[in-house]
């Protein structure tokens, strides 16, 4: 909840519908409102502008514009943007690049619901 008592809004960016569904399920069960889903980096940037979420979960590897480029584009629009990267194992170099570009934290797939919620709480309270 934010200070006004409303649910915090999250945008999910992942090219896999299965991962989007799984993340949505975790978020909704923990009191967040999923305001949108994106399957490419480009769509994530467009929806970020339109939906103004409190946080974005961002897959790293997506077709077309990937997650790192999308982080860079979102940080240009909103330097205070809060982005959680969702990476597969073995993407350490890409995770570092994303953090340098402005992402606040990361979780490694496959993730436990608790690790996603802990990371989101850290970002939103930090």
């Amino acid at each position: 909840m934010n200070e006004a008592g409303n649910k915090l809004k999250v945008l999910i960016a992942d090219d896999a519908i299965f991962m989007r569904t799984m993340i949505r399920d975790i978020l909704e069960k923990n009191g967040y409102e999923v305001v949108g889903e994106a399957s490419t980096g480009k769509e994530a940037v467009e929806k970020y502008q339109r939906l103004q979420p409190d946080l974005v979960t961002m897959d790293i590897v997506m077709p077309g514009m990937g997650g790192i480029e999308a982080v860079k584009a979102i940080m240009k629009i909103d330097p205070n943007g809060k982005i959680l990267m969702c990476s597969a194992m073995g993407q350490k170099a890409l995770v570092i690049e994303a953090i340098q570009a402005g992402a606040k934290d990361f979780v490694v797939k496959p993730f436990q619901p608790s690790s996603v919620i802990e990371a989101i709480t850290r970002i939103l309270e930090g």
């Binding site: 299965f18 997506m62 073995g90 993407q91 496959p110």
Partner: protein, 207 residues
């Protein structure tokens, strides 16, 4: 005879260790995503030519679900993970909690099934990529994965033969995982370019 056959005993052991670590990573990841404890058998490792692959896995007409990704950067390679149709359906059923009657990735109603299998394949491939990256202490860059449901003969033509000029050998890893309820069988194919393979081996040996 290709470059693998020129490796010494020590180098083959190092390679087997690399495969075991990758398989261990894959078992951990699958266990988390399926929310079930998984134990693993030691994977069997063979080196074969792309032409030998179909017969090695059940014949060119046998249908398989394949997830494919490649590594770019300093160590260009291809990764394929192959599931039998029954295995693929059964994994999808656990994750989407619905019966899967047949497989048809062109049917939009099966978008979730396709997505589950693509993601499982991606996570398993990443487990091996991570093992290589950690062992040689180098960043590995993996492409977005692709998925296909086809007969083995076509899978080889599409994903293996086109790189015949780069490599005439592939490493075939047969895996067997065991949960409380069942076995999960899948095959991994790793096709580094010759240069890439030799660079990885040099790094593994600390040269």
């Amino acid at each position: 005879m290709g470059y693998y056959h020129e490796l010494g005993e020590f180098e083959r052991d190092v390679l087997k260790e690399l495969c075991s670590i990758g398989t261990g990573n894959a078992a951990t990841s699958l266990s988390e995503i399926l929310a079930q404890p998984i134990s693993m058998q030691v994977p069997s490792l063979d080196v074969i030519s792309p032409e030998e692959m179909p017969d090695n896995l059940g014949g060119p007409e046998l249908e398989k679900v394949v997830v494919f990704a490649y590594l770019t950067g300093k160590y260009p390679s291809r990764f394929l993970i192959l599931f039998s149709v029954e295995e693929a359906k059964s994994i999808a059923e656990v994750l989407i909690r619905q019966k899967v009657e047949g497989l048809d990735f062109n049917d939009h109603k099966q978008e979730m099934v396709r997505s589950v299998l693509l993601e499982i394949g991606n996570i398993i491939i990443s487990s091996y990529v991570s093992a290589i990256g950690n062992m040689i202490n180098a960043p590995m860059i993996q492409s977005a994965p692709q998925i296909k449901y086809d007969i083995l003969g076509s899978i080889v033509d599409e994903f293996c033969i086109e790189s015949a000029s780069e490599s005439n050998e592939l490493l075939l890893l047969k895996n067997e995982f065991v949960t409380a309820e069942r076995e999960i069988l899948f095959d991994i194919i790793f096709m580094p370019t010759e240069e890439s393979f030799l660079s990885i081996m040099q790094k593994l040996k600390g040269e």
